[in-house]
């Protein structure tokens, strides 16, 4: 039941926020904050109490499971389950959700209630995605995340360059994800029907479909359907077109949610569905996926260097970082896959930090154009130093979580694909270039305009200190995180490498 509540709490919280606006501007904010913290607290309690050692043969791999029939005629259930990975991601979503509420405390003054309803509905959808095991239900939540995000960008967003309205960015975001979601729906339905014709049982259940016997050729296309849906969201070049606009033009809270959580649903999807459902095809597809990852690392980095809008710069760096995740997911080693999870967490912290900081900067100087900045180090106390920390994290400085993630990925991939690692390592230099360029343009150099600006207040400072603390904690002692996800990752890696072994055997037989 608690799993259901994790989804319902933000849902009802959202409705409450909407209505609470009539009690004043502050009410929705406090309610939303409380709701997010409740989700966070619930997942932390589960984490502390949970046992994440690898399950025995007969034991369930799930920490918690809850299922009731929903549409029995089609074998659709409300089937929620949680393991280490989903727990981590739900906790992350709760944390970033709370930060999203906090960072828009002064930024959002219009339709406050409806704004927080959307924030909480996103949360509800995201938690649903992380918990749903029934493929139909998963698709439902996957689509449900989009709508509130659309409103967030369309109603509270910023205009970009002339002609780039926020509505346009929102629509673009919606169409990209919607279209790719349809591909996934087709793939899900095809998978279900193939399973139906094989076994005579109509079911959308994950566990049942894991053993579906799909003919090889078709399976490849179905895998591709899932992959493209997730690739759009990750995003993988060339499907990244929605991301810079959406990021740059969303309100700060929207960017934090997008970079911190929504991108992670894609990596989660690959890890939970695309690879386990189609291990052999994924194995065959791995070189392509890794190449796409490499392209993403370089393309994102090069474009990041060319941006003038600070939020667009950060948005493109996300593409670069997610390239490492994509490589890791298809590297077929536990070390790399665990590294991917660490990058997901680390990137959530560092990109949230940078987005919140650029939001705070915007509140002070009313621009996101880096040509109109410069020399801010002398004008704002503390804020530039905080920025430097997250910039260092983003370029993978050791002792930050980002370093651990990236290096685990590179160490883990080197054995199987040294050439990929050699090329990807050059990305470390590029990361340094784009990160420091941002520092250079925004905070160093001569002062673009005069006058001293206010430093961070207690709320802003506390958010930053929290993120810094977490980044360092994961960077110096990631083991609790790794232990939690190990029992989820190991079977996936085994599936992946087994299928590689099978393929090799098959070739030998031939």
């Amino acid at each position: 039941m608690i799993l259901l509540w994790l989804i319902l709490i933000p849902f009802f919280g959202g409705l409450l926020c909407w209505q609470a606006e009539r009690w004043g501007q502050q009410a929705p904010r406090w309610i939303a904050l409380g709701t997010m913290l409740l989700v966070l607290a619930a997942s932390l309690v589960l984490w502390i109490g949970g046992d994440f050692s690898p399950p025995g043969v007969s034991e369930s791999p799930w920490l918690l499971e809850w299922r009731v029939p929903w549409i029995p005629r089609f074998g659709i259930e409300i089937h929620l389950a949680m393991d280490g990975l989903s727990l981590i991601l739900v906790a992350l979503a709760g944390l970033l959700g709370a930060l999203a509420v906090l960072c828009s405390w002064n930024e959002i003054v219009e339709r406050v209630g409806f704004f927080h309803l959307n924030l909480l509905f996103i949360m509800s959808g995201v938690v649903g995605v992380f918990l749903a095991l029934d493929l139909f239900l998963f698709f439902l939540f996957w689509e449900a995340m989009l709508v509130p995000m659309y409103f967030l960008i369309a109603l509270w967003g910023h205009s970009g360059s002339p002609g780039q309205t926020r509505i346009r960015a929102a629509t673009r975001f919606f169409i990209y994800t919607q279209a790719s979601g349809l591909l996934m729906l087709v793939a899900i339905l095809a998978l279900v029907f193939v399973n139906y014709s094989n076994t005579g049982v109509m079911t959308f259940s994950y566990n049942a479909l894991l053993n579906a016997n799909v003919p090889d050729g078709l399976a490849f296309w179905l895998m591709l359907g899932f992959f493209i849906a997730f690739a759009v969201k990750l995003p993988v070049v060339p499907f990244h077109g929605w991301l810079p606009d959406a990021h740059a033009q969303a309100p700060t809270a929207g960017s934090v949610d997008l970079a911190g959580i929504l991108l992670k649903t894609a990596a989660y999807g690959i890890l939970r569905f695309a690879i386990p459902l189609f291990p052999e095809q994924s194995q065959a597809f791995a070189p392509v996926a890794m190449t796409l990852g490499l392209v993403g690392i370089f393309y994102g980095a090069i474009l990041a260097c060319g941006q003038q809008d600070i939020k667009r710069l950060i948005a493109y760096t996300s593409i670069s970082h997610m390239g490492f995740v994509l490589i890791a997911l298809y590297a077929g080693s536990e070390l790399a896959m665990q590294g991917a999870i660490v990058i997901m967490v680390a990137h959530a912290f560092s990109s949230a930090g940078l987005f919140i900081l650029s939001g705070q900067l915007y509140e002070r100087i009313k621009t996101r154009d880096m040509r109109l900045m410069g020399g801010l180090w002398g004008r704002i106390p503390t804020l530039p130093g905080l920025t430097l920390f997250f910039v260092a994290a983003s370029l993978g400085m050791p002792a930050t979580a980002n370093f651990i993630g990236e290096f685990m990925v590179l160490f883990g991939t080197f054995d199987n694909a040294p050439e990929v690692v050699i090329i990807a390592s050059a990305g470390l230099v590029l990361a340094a270039i784009y990160s420091l360029l941002m520092m250079q343009r925004v905070h160093f150099g001569g002062e673009y305009s005069q006058g001293r600006l206010a430093g961070p207040d207690a709320r802003e400072y506390a958010m930053m200190l929290l993120l810094i603390g977490l980044t360092l904690a994961v960077g110096l002692y990631p083991q609790p995180l790794l232990d939690t996800t190990a029992s989820m990752v190991q079977p996936v890696v085994a599936l992946f490498t087994d299928s590689a072994g099978l393929a090799a055997q098959a070739e030998e037989v031939e």
Partner: protein, 622 residues
């Protein structure tokens, strides 16, 4: 006891960094200085305690396991042995003296808190670098010192040039770091461990001597060392790094960080012995660097840039020593170099502040009477730099390097070393004459304000001056038993001959310098003024044009690439889909023109097509 002292000497600078960084702007300059200098002083005491408690055996302490996934189990663990103790002594001892001097040098500057926060974070990172018992933790220190170097080179952030110098330093060394990282990946995959002890233990079993993989691993690590230690071709950042405050140049860009590459190769000596070709390459790169930098130092006008090139040149000597397998000699020279180069930089700092931030040689001059302490510092430090026989620290260590080179039968490296000694004499004399003799070149040089503070100005200079004499060379404990036998231990003849040769080179350099810069001053001026002489001067002044090479070979193409891709053409490509949809929409909209005639016509056409296709398929069926 020793491990406690070691951990303590790491934690003290870290704690002070945190205190300074999170103080906001509440701490005044006085309190910041006290915390900044005091903590490093205490760290030096802790190091002294560790030295006293040292029993002769190396000790390890594992604080916790950093990551544990399968075989991948790097720890946060420190190992203290003689090598790391020597390095610790330099970092905290020389570091403390430089911190003390900085209290004088930085007085009155804005952002003192930030300065000491970075400096102490640097000391911490550098200590981690030399104490780490595994490569990943070493890499933490390695990157940490790079970041601190970035922060301190760009300390005067209002001037854009300083920031670009910091940027350049970080990016160029980062290129080296990527090679080091790749080396770690290779070592981990092949040997299955990152623990330095285990790597050195296992490597000979996994790799045959001279095998391709061993060579590649050694090459990759060498790449990292080249970046940090500013050796050809990754050296271009070091002269520009002089944009930072002078104590920073003394600590980071002379005494400690730039010698990290030497430390790394000495620490992983077993690996390099498995790759003799790469080890020779280390020596060759060192020889090339020492000559190249020696020549470049001759044609600099900024006193700090002269010192920067001389640093690069001296590190070249250390690389030569490493290249012939004389690891002990390399660390010996590292130690004495830390003393005398810190002394030279601090003396330069004293001159610079006394003359109101003037550091162009042309605008200084004739200062020896007004700035006696700095002059003495330059004389003693310069004597050590040119390796003045018997009285200077530099003589003993450089002599050791040359002797090992000779014993190893590397005539080319030996000749480079001797030629380098002549060059060193030339540029050192030119530097000292340019600052302290001749006519003052500016108002500031005519009316300098000498440093007067006994404790923060005189004391560090005096202590470093004492260490730069033969007394400093005596202090070096010798690490012979840590390393495989150096070539000189087998040979026993010829050492005297070499000492004569080396002394001859030094005297030749000094004599030539005296003749050129005292007797033939006018002639020299006229030579470099025009024609081939001027071109030669420009070439040396720009240090053989490596900067231009990088600019046109890497930076510009990169900028073109960024500029060319700025529009995100892949995204444009995806927009084609939208365009197709729009065109299709426009086309279909045309068909709805509201005329019944058109609709009827289209309908009839459609029915006909359907009927024909039906007939055809039927016909095909029967």
């Amino acid at each position: 006891m020793m491990t406690v002292a070691t951990v303590l000497s790491c934690l003290l600078p870290l704690a002070s960094t945190l205190a300074l960084a999170f103080s906001g702007e509440r701490l005044g300059p006085r309190a910041s200085t006290l915390i900044g200098v005091g903590s490093v002083g205490l760290a030096a005491l802790a190091t002294a305690w560790a030295l006293l408690a040292y029993s002769g055996a190396s000790q390890s302490v594992t604080l916790w396991t950093w990551v544990s996934v399968g075989d991948f189990q790097p720890t946060i663990g420190l190992t203290v042995d003689r090598l790391s103790l020597v390095m610790m002594g330099i970092i905290t001892g020389v570091g403390f003296l430089i911190h003390l001097f900085a209290a004088w040098y930085m007085a009155g500057e804005a952002g003192i808190t930030r300065f000491y926060a970075w400096m102490n974070l640097f000391v911490f990172s550098m200590l981690i670098l030399v104490l780490a018992d595994n490569l990943l933790l070493l890499f933490l220190g390695w990157e940490g010192v790079g970041l601190c170097s970035y922060g301190l080179i760009g300390y005067y952030y209002q001037d854009e040039a300083n920031n670009w110098a910091a940027f350049k330093a970080f990016i160029v060394t980062r290129i080296g770091d990527v090679f080091l990282a790749l080396g770690m990946f290779l070592i981990f995959v092949e040997i299955g461990s990152l623990d330095i002890g285990q790597v050195l233990d296992q490597a000979p079993r996994v790799w045959a001597e001279g095998s391709a993989t061993a060579n590649i691993a050694a090459l990759l690590i060498l790449g990292g060392a080249l970046g940090k230690s500013a050796q050809v071709p990754l050296h271009t950042w070091l002269p520009d790094a002089m944009a930072g405050p002078t104590p920073v140049s003394a600590l980071i860009h002379a005494a400690t960080m730039v010698t990290a590459g030497v430390y790394l190769i000495a620490r992983l000596n077993g690996l390099f012995l498995l790759a003799p070709d790469v080890l020779l390459l280390v020596g060759v790169i060192g020889a090339v660097s020492l000559l190249l930098a020696g020549f470049a130092a001759l044609a600099q006008t900024d006193i700090k840039r002269v010192l920067a090139y001389s640093t690069m040149s001296q590190i070249g000597y250390m690389f030569v020593a490493l290249g012939v397998g004389a690891f002990d000699a390399a660390i010996f020279h590292l130690t004495t170099h830390a003393f005398f180069k810190a002394l030279l930089f601090l003396s330069a700092g004293s001159v610079i502040i006394s003359c109101h931030h003037e550091q162009e040689m042309g605008k200084l001059g004739g200062l020896w009477r007004q700035l006696p302490v700095a002059y003495a510092g330059f004389l003693v430090g310069g004597a050590a730099l040119v390796a003045l026989p018997l009285v200077s620290a530099g003589f003993f260590s450089k002599d050791e390097i040359l002797w090992q080179t000779m014993a190893a039968d590397r005539a080319g490296l030996l000749i480079a070393g001797l030629l380098g000694a002549v060059l060193t004499g030339l540029y050192t004399v030119r530097l000292i004459l340019g600052i302290f003799h001749g006519e003052p070149g500016s108002h500031h040089a005519r009316h300098p304000e000498p440093g007067k503070n006994l404790f923060t100005h005189h004391l560090p200079l005096i202590v470093l001056a004492v260490l730069s004499t033969f007394l400093g060379a005596w202090l070096y404990p010798g690490l012979g038993e840590l390393f495989p036998a150096a070539p000189g231990e087998a040979a026993d003849t010829g050492h005297t001959l070499l000492q004569v040769l080396a002394t001859g080179a030094v005297i030749a350099g000094l004599a030539l310098a005296g003749w050129l810069f005292l007797m033939r001053r006018q002639w020299l001026h006229s030579v470099v003024e025009k024609g081939a002489g001027a071109r030669c001067w420009t070439l040396l002044n720009r240090a053989w044009g490596f900067d231009a090479l990088f600019k046109w070979g890497l930076v510009r193409p990169w900028q073109w690439l960024v500029h060319g891709l700025r529009c995100d053409f892949i995204n444009r490509g995806m927009n084609l889909l939208a365009l197709i949809a729009r065109v299709g929409n426009a086309g279909l909209v045309r068909t709805q023109n509201g005329r019944v005639r058109t609709y009827a016509c289209v309908m009839v056409l459609g029915v006909t097509v359907i009927l024909i296709s039906l007939v055809l398929t039927r016909g095909g069926g029967t």
